[in-house]
């Protein structure tokens, strides 16, 4: 393992220090915590909190700022933060309008966030939440339970954050989340495993000419291993999965997020973008929004994920384009 770090067990703490020190006007750390919070909290706005294990940078702290997240709770690498941390974030972020939690569909995240929610509600703070489960990799038509939450979460942050910024209530944000999440679907392909610093070796190893479809952002197993394919072919495979799940209808509006998993250069991501957008055109979809880059990474994993969001309501698109002040959007 060749990493630019000091002690593996200090990595999250030092990363947060580095992040805050480099953005002193935008962000601060809640004292004695692993919480990154906006410096100037929105007054009378619903706070949006996200978080989860670290190792997905710039998620989630990179999306803290006006128009997006109020705070991000950073767990250890690939490990959900603990309830007390999340509770602390809720208390600090609440401006009286309530707090909305964006949770990804992992046992750990759900349990820890829900315990924190219980704690906050006992103190009279209004808290609501949504669970993002956009990864269709291991879905099948009969059972939709158990999908993972991956890169689509970024779109949820953006849309809910813009809604909050524009004064939506906690109930409205909850309703909005219920409408958008079923319209966001993601599928990825890994070119390599990720190395958790404390483990020191990759979670899984692929041969030099091998890829794996549907790997999760923590290296969870995907649905198939195969020989390396061209970008065109990979775009086709991932789009065909998404097509079946939505399913596609001509002229429907879609937002596209192409997300690098960490070690795949932007150059390759744009080559892939080119193939994706061409093929979506062939499908006669109307792509109204595209974003490309490393947003929800898996430490140093090579590969990409493709997220499509069906834009059913023009307000969603407006929210995606709503101005924002964050490090990473």
């Amino acid at each position: 393992m060749k990493k630019l770090i000091n002690n593996p067990s200090d990595i999250v703490n030092e990363m947060i220090d580095g992040l805050i020190a480099s953005s002193p006007t935008l962000l601060e750390r809640v004292a004695d915590s692993q919480i990154v919070i906006r410096k100037n909290l929105g007054i009378d706005k619903v706070a949006i909190i996200s978080g989860g294990g670290s190792g997905h940078e710039p998620a989630h702290a990179g999306f803290v700022g006006q128009g997006m997240l109020t705070a991000a709770v950073c767990g250890q690498v690939f490990t959900s933060p603990t309830p007390d941390q999340i509770f602390n974030a809720i208390k600090t972020a609440d401006s009286g309008q309530g707090v909305f939690l964006v949770i990804k569909n992992y046992s750990g995240d759900i349990m820890n966030f829900e315990m924190a929610k219980d704690m906050a509600e006992m103190e009279g703070i209004k808290v609501d939440s949504c669970i993002v489960d956009d990864d269709i990799a291991v879905e099948n038509s009969t059972y939709t339970q158990g999908k993972r939450g991956v890169a689509g979460t970024i779109l949820v942050h953006k849309i809910l954050g813009a809604a909050s910024e524009q004064g939506a209530s906690l109930t409205e944000i909850k309703q909005l989340s219920e409408k958008i999440i079923p319209n966001i679907k993601t599928i990825g392909v890994a070119f390599s495993g990720a190395t958790v610093p404390e483990v020191g070796k990759p979670g899984f190893v692929l041969a030099d000419d091998e890829i794996e479809y549907g790997v999760g952002i923590h290296g969870e197993p995907g649905y198939r291993r195969e020989k390396l394919q061209s970008s065109k072919f990979l775009a086709q495979e991932l789009i065909s999965k998404l097509k079946a799940t939505f399913p596609f209808q001509e002229n429907d509006q879609y937002a596209v997020l192409i997300n690098g998993l960490g070690a795949t250069p932007l150059m390759e991501q744009y080559v892939f973008t080119n193939d994706v957008l061409r093929q979506l055109k062939t499908e006669k979809l109307n792509v109204v929004f595209t974003k490309v880059g490393n947003y929800m990474t898996a430490i140093d994993m090579a590969g990409v994920s493709l997220t499509l969001m069906k834009i059913v309501d023009d307000e969603w698109l407006k929210n995606l384009n709503y101005p924002v002040t964050t490090l990473a959007w």
């Binding site: 294990g53 767990g75 750990g108 158990g146 993972r148 958790v196 923590h218 290296g219 197993p221 649905y223």
Partner: protein, 216 residues
């Protein structure tokens, strides 16, 4: 032969050994987790049990009864570990306190109840079922044995049976690729791999067993 009683120091010694067990099996458990998860289960447990061990000297002074000890240990796991195992093992130990409030020592029958309360807490917290490829696949078969314990049965024998059943339950997670719950989410690559939580679960109960042997 007088009835076996488990006192505070039984539990304190057990927690010490749990810390050592976690340390020893750190890489093994993480390896299992790499195969089907995110590769940190061993790390999570050592983070938790190291902290428990660190606070034990102070705890063993301050807690007034076993229930309080279990709650405190559970709280430490809950607030230090994170991930899935934090709230699960945290709840497991915390809820063990349910029926033994104020007790300085517990009978083995009461210990069986503690285990039951712990397992039920894990089930409530995680909402998983048997064959979801989780620690419950070890915890639940073990529970069947301890529920059957009768006054007069040999505690060591019983707990040994329990740990063996847990091991078997863990073995059964290997071929699992269920059509629902967590196992589904894990996908095909998980088939042929043991669930790490089911492994740590029997290992934890095995430490209780080994400690029991030393005092009987």
């Amino acid at each position: 032969m007088c009835a076996l009683m488990l006192n505070k120091s039984y539990f304190i010694e057990t927690f010490k050994k749990l810390a050592a067990m976690a340390e020893e099996n750190r890489d093994h458990l993480s390896k299992l987790d790499s195969d089907i998860g995110d590769g940190d289960h061993g790390i999570n447990l050592t983070i938790g049990f190291r902290e428990v061990e660190k606070q034990l000297p102070q705890l063993s002074e301050s807690v007034t009864d076993i229930a309080e000890l279990m709650k405190k240990v559970g709280m430490i796991l809950l607030s230090k570990v994170g991930g899935a195992s934090g709230p699960l093992y945290g709840s497991f130990f915390m809820k063990m306190a349910t029926h033994i409030i104020g007790k300085q020592e517990v009978t083995f029958k009461e210990f069986c109840q503690m285990y039951q309360d712990g397992v039920e807490a894990v089930q409530m917290r995680g909402k998983a079922e048997l064959n979801d490829k989780t620690m419950l696949d070890a915890l639940i078969p073990g529970l069947a044995i301890l529920k059957d314990y009768q006054e007069g049965d040999d505690p060591i024998n019983t707990l040994e049976n329990c740990v063996n059943e847990m091991k078997l339950g863990s073995d059964k997670t290997i071929p699992l690729m269920a059509k629902k719950g967590r196992a589904l989410r894990l996908g095909e690559r998980a088939v042929g791999h043991r669930d790490p939580g089911s492994e740590s679960a029997w290992m934890i109960m095995n430490v209780f067993l080994q400690q029991l042997k030393t005092i009987s």
